[in-house]
């Protein structure tokens, strides 16, 4: 079955995130809102797997194998998994 795995590749907590800081300062704070912002990059990997768990595991492994994130500074998180018919 084909699953779509939504990955967020973002800086680890504690690593400076200038994009998130800028969006917070220039858009949220300026609108008078006390909201923290962290930026990340969302990639949707659609791949073949026998179960949701396998799809999740495969996507994260691929992300590290292909160095979509830099392990020194990034986290790779699965945000959502769905089958093609339920995405």
């Amino acid at each position: 079955m084909r699953f779509s795995v939504y990955l967020n590749i973002a800086y680890k907590p504690g690593v400076r995130d200038p994009e998130g800081d800028t969006i917070k300062r220039e858009l949220f704070s300026r609108a008078g809102l006390d909201v923290d912002v962290r930026a990340g990059k969302c990639l949707v990997l659609t791949l073949e797997a026998s179960s949701e768990d396998e799809a999740r595991e495969k996507a994260v492994r691929l992300a590290w194998d292909l160095r979509l994130g830099n392990p020194n500074v990034h986290v790779v998180e699965v945000v959502r998994v769905c089958t093609e018919s339920r995405c």
Binding site: T22, I23, E26, L27
Partner: protein, 213 residues
């Protein structure tokens, strides 16, 4: 004497080229930091190119929500000529002063080269000295220049050879006195430094003539 504001945000880098082009055209001009911009002071405004706010979130989107751009909108509504170049054009579309959106190039990537541009609309404050359909050389330097329209629009300039997948070869759009261009007319004014010639000079002279009216 007419006062032309060249608006600067953090990350704007085309400001001095615009100042130089305006100087060559004989216009009094002022570099204005976005926080200092006041409406009602200037006879024309140029939003120069660059990477405002680091292109974070999306090119132009953060600058579009500044007080400066709200004031530019007030000026535009009073008929003040407004020109956005490259990132300035992206800011104007994100602010809704111009229709449509500028999306990543197709094929993808940053393009920096001289190209031929056909001036399509010669009724704007920035193009009226060009002949209808006149073809001029100007440089482009952008990664998000593929124009996607939303509803009707007026193409002020079109690419002769479409470099970025832009809809209908659109290189620039006008809405009344507000004009946006992806090519850089300020980098095509000085024979000594621009290898592609001076095809942008008439744009600045057009503004000068317009302001005299």
């Amino acid at each position: 004497m007419y006062r032309v504001a060249v608006l600067k945000f953090p990350g704007t880098n085309g400001d001095y080229d615009v100042l130089r082009a305006l100087e060559l055209a004989g216009l009094r001009r002022e570099l204005v930091w976005h926080r200092e911009y006041k409406s009602g002071l200037y006879d024309a405004v140029v939003l120069a190119g660059g990477f405002s706010y680091g292109d974070y979130l999306r090119a132009g989107v953060i600058a579009a929500q500044t007080d400066a751009v709200r004031r530019v909108r007030e000026d535009a509504e009073r008929g003040v000529p407004v020109l956005g170049i490259c990132n300035g054009f992206q800011i104007l579309t994100e602010a809704g002063l111009l229709p449509g959106a500028l999306t990543p190039n197709e094929p993808p990537g940053f393009i920096s080269k001289w190209i031929r541009v056909r001036i399509n609309d010669v009724k704007t404050p920035f193009t009226h000295l060009y002949e209808p359909g006149e073809v001029v050389y100007m440089p482009i330097a952008h990664a998000e220049g593929r124009y996607v329209p939303s509803g009707s629009y007026s193409a002020v300039a079109k690419y002769v050879e479409n470099p970025n997948g832009s809809f209908d070869d659109v290189a620039g759009v006008a809405r009344g006195n507000v004009v946006g261009l992806m090519p850089h007319p300020e980098r095509a004014v000085d024979r000594d430094v621009s290898r592609g010639g001076t095809g942008g000079l008439k744009l600045w002279l057009s503004l000068k003539e317009w302001l005299k009216r």
